[in-house]
Symmetry: C2
Subunit: 161 residues, 2 copies
Amino acid sequence: MTSTHQQQAEATIEADPAVPAIHITRDFAATASQLVMAHTDPELFVRWIGPNGYVTTIDHWDGRTGGSYRYEHAGQGFHGCFHHVSDDRLVQTFTWEGMPEGVSLDTMTFEDLGDGRTRMHATSLVGSFEARDGMLSSGMDVGIRDGYAKLDALLADGALG
Amino acid sequence: MTSTHQQQAEATIEADPAVPAIHITRDFAATASQLVMAHTDPELFVRWIGPNGYVTTIDHWDGRTGGSYRYEHAGQGFHGCFHHVSDDRLVQTFTWEGMPEGVSLDTMTFEDLGDGRTRMHATSLVGSFEARDGMLSSGMDVGIRDGYAKLDALLADGALG
């Protein structure tokens, strides 16, 4: 029984049936506040984002409501702005610069599961089903699963306090 | 025939059939660059946005890629961030603070019609059809039509150069 609690669920990555969005759900041994920090503190962010084996570098980063960011990963650029940053909700935009007209509106909310565990609900909304389905078939799941496993390890190491 | 060219078309405001978005199309006697300026220069923006008869005041405003804004109009607050600002495309987020969890991703592009006239294509994307239909039935069209008529007058007065 205990092992069920200790093991973190894999991320679920699902297409919304009604709107051009992707929903990601993932449990972490972390508080909501730690998960917000993991997404808004650039020194932490570079340590877990994306697939294994690449270095992420920050170009600029202001992880507050109304701030913005740009980073490079595996030779690619990514940028966006932070619409809302608080301890229980994060709303930001995201563009992969390989497709500069593509913009997603990403929302994360956090559900307290007790015992210091939190379920993250992330939604990426884009302008068309074609764009959404292109994202899903791009291999994004590898980066997501690798990244969250790195974040699990950082949390286990106490890197987020 | 000439009068057809001089008269500005009314805005068309349409629900997208497939995704939870609203499309607005409007012709202006302006260049794309002037229309971008009208949306990103706070001193110009306050002179035309919203329904007639209200004063708009800027709380903060940085109308560049990665910047953000907040303004008050008719006792209500509105804020968002600028994901992309260039001479031919504007992408920003928008929240009416009366419904703080509602966020739209707004994209404007500009089509040169010749003779110094430009057709603006604006899309507001939100997370659900319910939210989109709520926006459409909120009387937003009055503010849009009044606002663009004020912008026409500013353009005719030479306020945008």
